[in-house]
Symmetry: C3
């Protein structure tokens, strides 16, 4: 007792306390124990480290994309006079980051003036006399503001007159095949530079081994030219599992996905972009409210006598969204500790399981118990009379 009281504090700090253990020479439990350990270790190494790279910390990409569409088309149809189309005509607006729109089909309404004209016939618009029309009435499903007058739409039909951009657009008949069907052969050059700020890693989709002469002629092909950043629109649609001509009629949205996922520990020099393509809008046959993709824009003119007129264009086309994503991983001490710690805990559980097996399932369990477990009983001092002295701790 004296010893412990004298320099207890020193002991409690510098004495090392270790659990007393009992070795059980049973092959059965031994095997179970070792096997369990092996399984856990295998999981840690094989799955967490190799497959999931759980020892890495990650960063997400910062990207910049510029696109340049090339190609022109010539249309000579019943819908309009022969016309030549180049980039400035069919890319609207001329530049958008991370996206570009190629007009493939359109409904053009020329020489619209702010004026009055009869509505298209319909349940709400046909009338017999002015009483049926209400001045200033604004029907969202109509084409303009009613003037309150009922006028001849045709020899037979009278409809309410509206104040609007007249003549009104007739968007019931859509050119098919698409006017700019030739757009399928247009090409686009995509320049993409990325950064992983946390790792100060920079990359671009024009790879070092690509020289400019190659770039002038090449064209992306999954098998032969997987690194060429120049894509033929038709191929993009094809890779996305769509038919360009089908999409061209009513328009749609195609995604150009660039995956920059990289393992910067081992393959920093192999950090290449992987291209994939997918239709992003829904081409669901039912639910076909405003199917495809279209929008209206106008070119404004002044007549010689200063009156504003416009050409309204309902543009159908394909919007290409360039979606750059990916996460880079590099060894990080924190995730490593976390995962290691977690895994080791599982190791630490094994003995508990084995003890349970030992004391419940094995036939010699009673004997094992005797040796392993001591029942504390007060007052009885035999158990402490064996020349052991007691250290505080």
């Amino acid at each position: 007792m004296s010893k412990s009281s004298e320099n207890g504090c020193v002991q409690c700090f510098l004495h090392y306390e270790t659990p007393k253990t009992l070795v059980i020479p049973s092959k059965t439990i031994g095997c179970v124990f070792r096997f369990a350990q092996f399984v856990v270790l295998f999981y840690i190494v094989g799955y967490v480290c190799v497959v999931r790279k759980a020892y890495q910390e990650t960063d997400s990409v910062i990207s910049s994309v510029t696109t340049k569409v090339k190609g022109f088309a010539y249309t000579n149809t019943s819908y309009m006079e022969p016309r030549f189309w180049d980039v400035a005509d069919y890319v609207i607006p001329p530049q958008t980051p991370d996206s570009f729109f190629v007009m493939t089909n359109m409904i053009i309404t020329r020489k619209q003036f702010q004026s009055r004209c009869p509505e298209f016939p319909g349940p709400l618009t046909t009338c017999t006399d002015d009483c049926d029309c209400f001045e200033g009435h604004n029907d969202p499903r109509g084409s303009g503001i009613q003037t309150g007058r009922c006028v001849n739409f045709s020899a037979t039909v009278k409809t309410c007159q509206v104040f609007s951009w007249c003549p009104l657009e007739i968007d019931t008949v859509l050119p098919e095949p698409a006017l700019l069907a030739a757009a399928e052969d247009f090409t686009v050059l995509i320049k993409n530079s990325i950064t992983y700020p946390k790792f100060d890693f920079h990359g671009r989709n024009i790879l070092p081994h690509i020289n400019s002469s190659y770039l002038k002629t090449c064209e992306f092909n999954r098998t032969t030219d997987p690194d060429c950043p120049i894509f033929r629109l038709k191929d993009i649609a094809l890779e996305a599992g769509e038919d360009f001509q089908d999409m061209a009629v009513k328009g749609g949205v195609l995604g150009i996905l660039i995956d920059w996922s990289c393992d910067l520990d081992w393959w920093e020099d192999k950090c290449y972009p992987k291209y994939s393509f997918r239709r992003l809008d829904d081409k669901n046959p039912f639910n076909n409210v405003a199917p495809g993709y279209n929008f209206r824009f106008a070119k404004y003119y002044l007549t010689p006598d200063g009156v504003e007129t416009r050409t309204l264009i309902k543009a159908y086309g394909i919007r290409f969204d360039i979606i750059v994503f990916g996460t880079a991983g590099r060894f990080g001490i924190v995730p490593t500790i976390i995962n290691l710690g977690a895994a080791l805990t599982i190791l630490g559980l094994i003995p508990h399981v084995c003890d349970w097996i030992l004391l419940t399932c094995m036939e010699k369990r009673e004997v094992y118990k005797k040796n392993k477990v001591t029942e504390f009983n007060d007052g009885d001092s035999d158990s402490v009379s064996m020349g052991t002295t007691y250290g505080t701790q």
Copy 2:
């Protein structure tokens, strides 16, 4: 000794070593022990698993948005002649991904020519004769490049002449209420398709149970039509806690947030978008430098004799940013192991705490010590004379 030396390696591998333990029949410490265990287990199950779903691995959304604004307006004010406005007039530019701008107010300056005109009077621009003006002087706060001449601005005031687009824009008086106040009744159809690449999950905001006839008539309403993807601009502002008419005058930015957070383990079929609306720009009363949102654009014309002229429009309006976000969670073995491991470690701490209580707080602590802790003392062999043989390990 012999035994251990003979086949030590076999033992060290297949013998199972387990700590000797002492059972203490004290209800007090027993309760403490079990209670602590219960608390930790409750935390693990209740909080980590149920509330936080810490057993899931997550993926963030890849999204594509298209918008289609509908509606028209008629203006008949003192600011300009009667005019009819449709989508092509007030949506600028005609298409932008993830965003659309609706012009609600404007200052129009017509028939601007590249020419010379007197500056607006101001401390820096008023002059008495040419000496006060400096040819080529370019004052950022001015309206053009000074020609060096001092000319009559009005009968009484002389100002420096500038080379600029003349006549100069007068943007001091802003129409109020907004010219296109009627824009509050415009509607927008938002089509949003999303993907969680890691889980190969696809979703769209036009839900399966929505048919196209419903879509033609419905309008979003938090309570009655929470799934309708057609929004009235006024309602968006309202939900964002703003008054549309107030915003319409000076413009602003409204965010349409679409939350696609999903639990793909249990509710994959219930993975619906949740809409929320928020004003994104600051309407801070002080700090009102360039409050609201506006920008300038021009329509260019050629006069019959080939001179370029333009109509300058300072467009005030509301930009709607569609922000799609959310993370999907699905059971993952790695996060499960990590969280389980971490939680179990806490369980593993409890015995240490209990031991400490046992050996310091309980009255019988001395006796417990005697039984639990053995002081190693060299040379004394009693402690090893009890028929036990020693296995290496």
Copy 3:
């Protein structure tokens, strides 16, 4: 035996079982043990908590950006007649979220009509007679659709005639220095509002202590005005390590990075944006396919007799991408548990290491073994004859 059989279940639940331990009064092993503990604790506190803030849960930023460019320029060069440029002229398109384009250089082709004109001479276009030209031939590297006729390009050279926008654009000579070199003195006001939805934290880059009078005059400067949200384009290029005039000629992409990373536990009131600037496109000298950044757009006119004509502009300029990023961290119970758990596990490993040292490296190891490890041997009852009774567990 009786006791255990009677109320085993009660015992197994309320009896506390604790390992028997052996105190080893060895300073050596004691020091090793304590030192190891200290190291791990130091790592936990110092690195995981302080440096990495591993106890925090994070959220990523939702942001809204509006920009307003100010400034005008006057060009008087041999390339075109004297001209005045303001925002409406050089920002194309007039508004884009998170980005703005400033035209700095251009090639203008006026009075283009849909008509026929000779191709530029080249290996594929020069011809001797009509047989060399193929009607309808569409060469992507050409300028239009061949009409099949061979006409005089000049007195000496004959080339195939094409149907196109004539006259054709001549983009071989690029004005240098850039036409709008003065753009370097343009300024841009960036208004950025952010939100961390998970923490319901809102912030804006116009800080509370900034008043509007300051905002009207200030200009960003890393040292003197680090909080001013008004940037001079020249300075942006400079900070990005580029020369504005160089970029102005062929164009490029500059990134304005706004970092909103914040520690909301301690510095919520200090959650300020940090600006940095970086060139995002590659200015790689080799691989110079389509170097810089340019695109084509056109202004469309009608001649008095209703024929469509256009002015084609190949616009070179600098696109400024505003990239807002950052993660906010705030104390979270889950990550804390995880990291704590993981760290404590490491603590839990130390005894195993020390035991190994104890039983293999220390000279007294044999004696230690005797006391620590008991070899189980069946049938021998001495080990259980010491007045201890056996509790089930």
